[in-house]
């Protein structure tokens, strides 16, 4: 049993323990202990990753995976239990551990059926971790489904507002994405002629152009639906708005990154020729994402919808970075996954905290809250500044890489078009500033609008820990990007090399 299986299954085991617990307090403590242990395990993994002998693949187009665990599972179908980790996966693991830990903290007040809630949450996260370390397509798909399906229950039971509708819409749309993925995976399986789902072996295959031409968009759209690709993003606003706080944090912070991760890791890496055919088209689509999402956010009245549209815009940037087919762009995409995950986790946890006090999410009904909740107000502003890409926070590091990558162009696409799309995307820094500052000013600045607000309290201890941890992470990535850049760059090389072949 290797460290990676441990990483994947610790949340699952925690969930099992929870099912035996009786009181809500025990349940929460177990969840917290489990996720805390997990966070430590990811730090240990990171340390080992950097300090253990590196397993470098001599083939420049092959992945260099560490801590590999590979066992045959259904050998007649070419399915194996294949886990491994490289820089990109490691970054995502770190992100997810932080988000689930803070998510559990942020859910400290869930009383109704807390056992099932935490168990489902941890099951979901097991799936996520599994996806990030799987290198067998079949296994990948299983974990992917495990990550998506509990959302239906989590939103439908513990959500607010039109929760059944949102849960249904979200699950059905994501299932549609999975359907596309399944078709594509089976296509890859059959057309490779190798009778295997092993990603590293499939990466050696040069599929013919005709095949790549239809499988690539199927994959990209399939992943894109989860990654809020326009026009398949509409499950996101309602889904996030109706979901309970920790679920939104996990979903926007981590699950949506599965889409970007899959697009880069599977779609582009396995099908480079298909990528070259379709990348400009997707770049244009994601540019729409970026601008449309941020413009749409301006007019939202509900804080959660506001954040959800912001996520549509930022997740669009991830896919935009992938579509640039450029070393810097890829790096930016992965950095943006980390950065936005942290940022949106912070946003949603804060919204939950504010909502728990004011019992409204409508921006116009709040005002002047900074006076009574300075900690929450400051945290909100930090999250807002991260969102608009202020240097010294993680957003800037990621966005500058994405824009630079788009501007540099690639050898296969018209430079002018790429530049035009990049310039259009950069306009989002202004629009984001507009809606972030407007929204936050309305809620926190100015005189207190509702006298009842005077009674409200500022953050409690768990809330302070949650926000402090996320803010510290945002600053860490923003001030010392070298850590993540060093981690990610070697993992991107095989993908670029494959494209250049």
């Amino acid at each position: 049993m290797g460290i990676l299986s441990l990483i994947v299954f610790i949340p699952f085991l925690t969930a099992i323990f929870i099912l035996f617990a009786k009181s809500p307090k025990t349940i929460k403590s177990i969840a917290l202990a489990g996720t805390g242990l997990h966070l430590l395990a990811s730090f240990v993994l990171t340390y080992l990753f950097f300090n253990s002998p590196q397993n470098i693949n001599p083939d420049p187009t092959g992945l260099s995976l560490q801590f590999v665990e590979k066992w045959d599972w259904f050998s007649s179908f070419g399915v194996s239990y294949f886990l491994g980790v490289d820089g990109i996966s490691l970054a995502m693991i770190l992100l997810t551990s932080v988000i689930i830990f803070t998510g559990v903290l942020a859910s400290w007040n869930v009383e109704n059926r807390s056992k099932e809630f935490f168990a489902l949450l941890l099951l979901l996260v097991t799936g996520v971790f599994g996806v990030f370390v799987s290198f067998d397509l079949f296994l990948f798909f299983i974990f992917y489904e495990v990550a998506v399906l509990p959302m239906y229950l989590l939103i439908g039971i513990w959500g607010t507002g039109p929760k059944e509708y949102s849960a249904m819409k979200l699950t059905l749309m994501l299932m549609l994405g999975s359907a596309f993925l399944m078709v594509a995976f089976l296509g890859l399986f059959h057309l490779s002629g190798l009778n295997t789902f092993d990603m590293t072996k499939l990466a050696q295959v040069n599929f013919d152009l005709q095949t790549q031409r239809w499988i690539f968009p199927t994959l990209f759209v399939g992943f894109g639906i989860l990654g809020a690709l326009y026009p398949f993003h509409t499950w996101s606003p309602d889904g996030h708005a109706s979901a309970p706080t920790a679920v939104s944090m996990l979903h926007a912070g981590v699950l949506m990154k599965l889409g970007g991760y899959g697009a880069l890791r599977i779609a582009v890496y396995l099908l480079p020729e298909g990528a070259k055919e379709w990348a400009l088209f997707f770049m244009a689509l994601t540019t729409i994402n970026i601008l449309y999402g941020s413009l749409g956010a301006i007019k939202q009245k509900d804080l959660k919808y506001f954040t959800a549209y912001s996520s549509v815009s930022h997740c669009g940037m991830v896919l935009f970075g992938v579509a640039t087919l450029n070393f810097i762009g890829f790096k930016g995409a992965v950095l943006q996954m980390v950065s936005h995950g942290l940022m949106t986790g912070l946003f949603f946890s804060l919204i939950g905290m504010v909502y728990g006090r004011t019992h409204t999410r409508i921006i116009n009904e709040m005002g002047g809250l900074a006076k009574v909740m300075p900690w929450l107000a400051t945290s909100f502003y930090i999250a807002g500044f991260a969102s608009l890409g202020l240097p010294s926070l993680s957003g800037f590091v990621a966005e500058s890489q994405i824009f630079m990558g788009g501007f540099m162009g690639n050898p296969w696409h018209d430079l002018t078009w790429m530049r035009v799309l990049t310039v259009l995307s950069t306009m989002s820094i202004v629009v984001t500033a507009v809606y972030v500052l407007r929204g936050l000013a309305q809620v926190f600045m100015g005189p207190i609008t509702n006298l009842h607000f005077n009674e409200l309290t500022d953050a409690s201890l768990t809330e302070k820990v949650t926000t402090a941890l996320l803010i510290a992470s945002l600053f860490f990535v923003g001030l010392y990007p070298k850590f993540f850049v060093d981690m990610i760059e070697p993992a991107i090389n095989p993908i670029i090399n494959r494209l250049n072949m």
Binding site: L172, P237, G296, I298, L390, S400, A433, V434, G446
Partner: protein
């Protein structure tokens, strides 16, 4: 270099911000204030020592310290560092001096405010950001700190955050400058790309494409110019400069920024942050020199701004607003001075920076003096002031020194720097610039004289209790005024051209008498007209002029309705015509499409269930029909 590593000059204000902001201010705001002031005081001395040693050493520039920060690709790595050269050394002195004096002043001015600890932490943050901007060895670091300066400004303008007008002003400042920063960012992307494609010579192996030592290298510059995109890149960067320096038409945020406490206006919006644009153009001047079109644009934008702002300043009643427009006008001078310079006539470069230097002192003095006045009479409106020279002697004298300086009267500092700018315009053949600049000098002395006379002379028009006389401010506030006045008097005599020059050292020749004479004449005309109209208690002549100008006066007073235009464009057009429809489209059409598929499946399913009639005989019919169909098919295909 000096006894301490140079990066300490950045570290000290940063530490002050962190310690004060996170810890000290929760216990004692006043302690935080003192810590902040001491920290910046130390920085002040340090900057003087640094500048002294640097200019003594005669070096052209030194890269004191740097470390890798952000890597794009192997040949594009961004470092964070500290670079000392004449330009940054001068700016270090200016920023630290003004910041220190403002800190001392604020000990008095902000003493009774409950947010005083927060205020001083923000001041430290600002100082740190501005210093980081000024010592940046590459364009990217400059952008990073540029944004941080923007945030500090946002926090300080919105300091009184329960006041809706302050909140609005902070938002507006940030958004307008962000819009400009967009241009800056695209310019950086473009220059980075161009820099990468420059022939990899000896230079590029050492420096990264965005380093100033790389970009300003003559060989590199020529190659960049030959790409044909240099002008575009520089103009984009100039847009960024125009935003921060509030040049037309991005000037709208600066008057509103007066919502912040007056020391903030003195520090940020007079002396330091707003000159960042001037600094940026000066920094990249070797490149601008190779793109004459860009320089032309720069000079005209600067000239127009200085005229535009001066005209408006003549009509404003809020003392801080007048000073804000005055700042806009003076920055216009600095910008157009850069615009008229070239390697043939480099005087404009020196003149611009000289004016930046002197202006910092007398403008800060004006603002702090205004703060002292506002503190005493509790109003910003000049029409409610009057006769203050009796009660506030120190403020009066120092304010007068500043007024004379900005008007360009010999021997005050403004005379030297402003004349140098006009000389640069004249000698390089930019006649229009010279004449308009002269006219603006006249207007400057006029509107400055106007507020001077209205505030200090005549009888008190205060609405306050007659027995409640305004009194002079405490020494904490008047000391900086005096120190700045001394600087405003003496800084003109500095042989600036020996330190900051472009292309070749400009011999500090004698004054151009034409310029000196005409400049002084313009100033005297302006001041005497102001004396004539405003120093007495009878304002009937003023009324006559105002009604005589009619509609034109109203338009000017309303700042040519640019603020209304800004609101119109943002609210009516962007919000309602663009963002609103997008939100609607997303909800009703795109999401509607999704809902439609859901409804369609439901309807289809419902229609399908009609087959289930429950009637056995219907089922039997289906059965028979199906059976016959299968048989027919079987017979047709198989047999």
């Amino acid at each position: 270099m000096v006894l301490l590593p140079t990066w300490m000059i950045l570290a000290i204000p940063l530490l002050s911000f962190i310690i004060n902001g996170l810890f000290v201010r929760r216990f004692s705001g006043h302690l935080a204030a003192k810590i902040g002031t001491i920290a910046i005081g130390f920085n002040f001395l340090f900057s003087l020592a640094l500048a002294y040693y640097f200019f003594q050493s005669g070096e052209l520039s030194t890269l004191e310290w740097h470390t890798e920060w952000l890597r794009f690709q192997s040949n594009l790595i961004i470092h964070i560092g500290v670079m000392i050269d004449p330009l940054s050394a001068m700016m270090l002195v200016v920023v630290n001096t003004i910041s220190f004096f403002v800190h001392i002043y604020s000990l008095g001015y902000m003493h009774d405010d409950e947010g005083v600890g927060r205020f001083f932490s923000y001041l430290s943050l600002f100082t740190f950001s501005m210093l980081g901007l000024v010592v940046a060895p590459n364009l990217f670091q400059m952008y990073v700190f540029w944004e941080l300066v923007g945030v500090s400004s946002f926090l300080l303008i919105g300091f009184y955050y329960t006041k809706p007008s302050a909140v609005s002003a902070a938002k507006k400042a940030f958004i307008v400058t962000r819009f400009a920063d967009l241009g800056f960012l695209i310019g950086i992307l473009l220059l980075g790309y161009l820099g990468l494609s420059v022939n990899q010579g000896q230079i590029s192996s050492v420096y990264s494409p965005l380093d100033f030592l790389f970009l300003n290298n003559p060989d590199v510059g020529l190659q960049l110019a030959s790409s044909g995109l240099l002008t575009t890149g520089l103009l984009l960067i100039f847009i960024g400069a125009a935003g921060k320096s509030a040049l037309f038409p991005l000037h709208i945020w600066l008057p509103d920024a007066m919502e912040g406490p007056t020391p903030v206006s003195a520090l940020i919006h007079a002396a330091t942050m707003v000159v960042a644009g001037v600094y940026l153009v000066a920094r990249l001047f070797p490149l601008f020199n190779l793109a004459p079109v860009a320089l032309e644009v720069v000079s005209w934008v600067g000239l127009f701004t200085s005229l535009f702002a001066a005209v408006i300043a003549c009509t404003q009643d809020d003392i801080k607003r007048v000073l804000a427009f005055s700042t806009l006008s003076q920055i216009g001078y600095m910008i157009f001075a850069l615009g008229v310079a070239s390697d043939l006539y480099p005087l404009g470069y020196t003149a611009s920076l000289f004016h930046l230097f002197t202006h910092a002192f007398f403008k800060a003095l004006l603002f702090l003096g205004a703060g002292s006045i506002i503190h005493a009479v509790h109003t910003n409106d000049v029409w409610q002031m009057g006769g203050l020279k009796k009660y506030m002697p120190i403020t009066h004298i120092t304010f007068l020194v500043a007024v004379l300086s900005i008007s360009g009267i010999f021997p005050f500092s403004g005379f030297f720097s402003k004349d140098e700018i006009l000389t640069a315009a004249l000698e390089s053949g930019h006649m229009t610039h010279y004449l308009v600049g002269l006219f603006v000098a006249l207007l400057t002395s006029f509107y400055m004289g106007r507020i001077y006379f209205l505030t200090f002379w005549g009888q008190s028009r205060s609405h306050e209790n007659a027995s409640h006389h305004p009194h002079e401010s405490t020494w904490v506030m008047t000391l900086p005024l005096v120190l700045l006045a001394i600087l405003a008097l003496s800084s003109g005599w500095l042989p600036f051209a020996n330190y900051l020059w472009f292309a070749h050292k400009h011999d500090h020749h004698s004054l151009n008498m034409t310029v000196a004479f005409s400049g002084t004449l313009a100033a005297i005309i302006g001041l005497s007209s102001a004396w004539f109209l405003y120093s007495k208690n009878n304002f009937s002549k003023v009324q006559k002029i105002q009604t005589g100008m009619g509609q034109a006066y109203q338009i000017i007073k309303a700042k040519f309705y640019f603020d209304e235009l800004y609101l119109f464009v943002t609210h009516k057009i962007v919000f309602n015509k663009i963002a609103g429809p997008i939100a609607w489209f997303d909800k009703k059409v795109v999401d509607g499409g999704v809902d439609l598929t859901g409804e369609m499946s439901q309807t289809f399913g419902q229609k399908l269930t009609l087959i289930q009639t429950g009637q056995v005989q219907n089922y039997i019919i289906w059965f028979i029909v199906g059976f016959i169909t299968v048989l027919t098919l079987y017979y047709n295909t198989v047999l």
